[in-house]
Amino acid sequence: MIKIIACAVILGASTVAGFIYSERLKYRVFQLNEVQRAIYQLQNEITYVHALLPDAFKSVAQKSKEPIRELFNRTSELLSDNSYENVYEAMNSAINLIKNRIYLNSDDINVILDLSKTLGESDIEGQISIFSLTLANLKKQIKISEDYMNKNIKMYRYLGFSFGATIVIVLI
């Protein structure tokens, strides 16, 4: 009896692990879309409202969802406190603080950090061109992540169950 229950637990656990892993791919696409929206808003704040960077970050954070809200909030706080020399370092440390809650990979994070390297260091025209470059890169990343998600989401689910079944058969 205990044997059957233990086998069912192993099978269930591996299936759930497969599902959880496949959910990560979905979260990545969701968070990339959220970052894209936030960057459009940041562009408006800078080119239209001419807001200061900490204020622009704060207002973008208020309109975003977690955990992107946390990212922009932390960056804004770090910039207001003058804790860091430039935007890049502030954003980098904000990303490190919420690293366990974001599902973006290093390429996605590099796109965001590349933007932060040039923020506040040129005139409006320069900012606009950097924004368009970042948005084009982000669109590319979203396309890649969506393709990856469509291809792999089912595979991870089935694999979770299959590995569980293999372990159960070996143990029986």
Binding site: M155, L159, S162, F163, T166
Partner: protein, 65 residues
């Protein structure tokens, strides 16, 4: 008398390995599919290695006068 449950176990493992191989190949991960196949072969070898060693020892004793 041969233990029949071992045969069923090997059969079930084989079926599961085939399924894993198909899933991985449809996901475009051929290299991992090869590794999974190898792992399956090793898994089944580990199951039968006792029987194979028993066979060898019995053959050895057969030829020892």
């Amino acid at each position: 008398m041969l233990d029949v449950s071992l045969l069923f176990k090997i059969g079930a493992t084989g079926i599961l390995i085939i399924i894993i191989d198909k899933i991985l190949k449809s996901g475009g991960k051929e290299d991992i599919a090869v590794v999974a196949n190898l792992a399956g072969v090793i898994l089944i070898l580990m199951m039968v290695i006792n029987l194979v060693s028993k066979l060898f020892t019995s053959v050895k004793t057969l030829f020892q006068f």
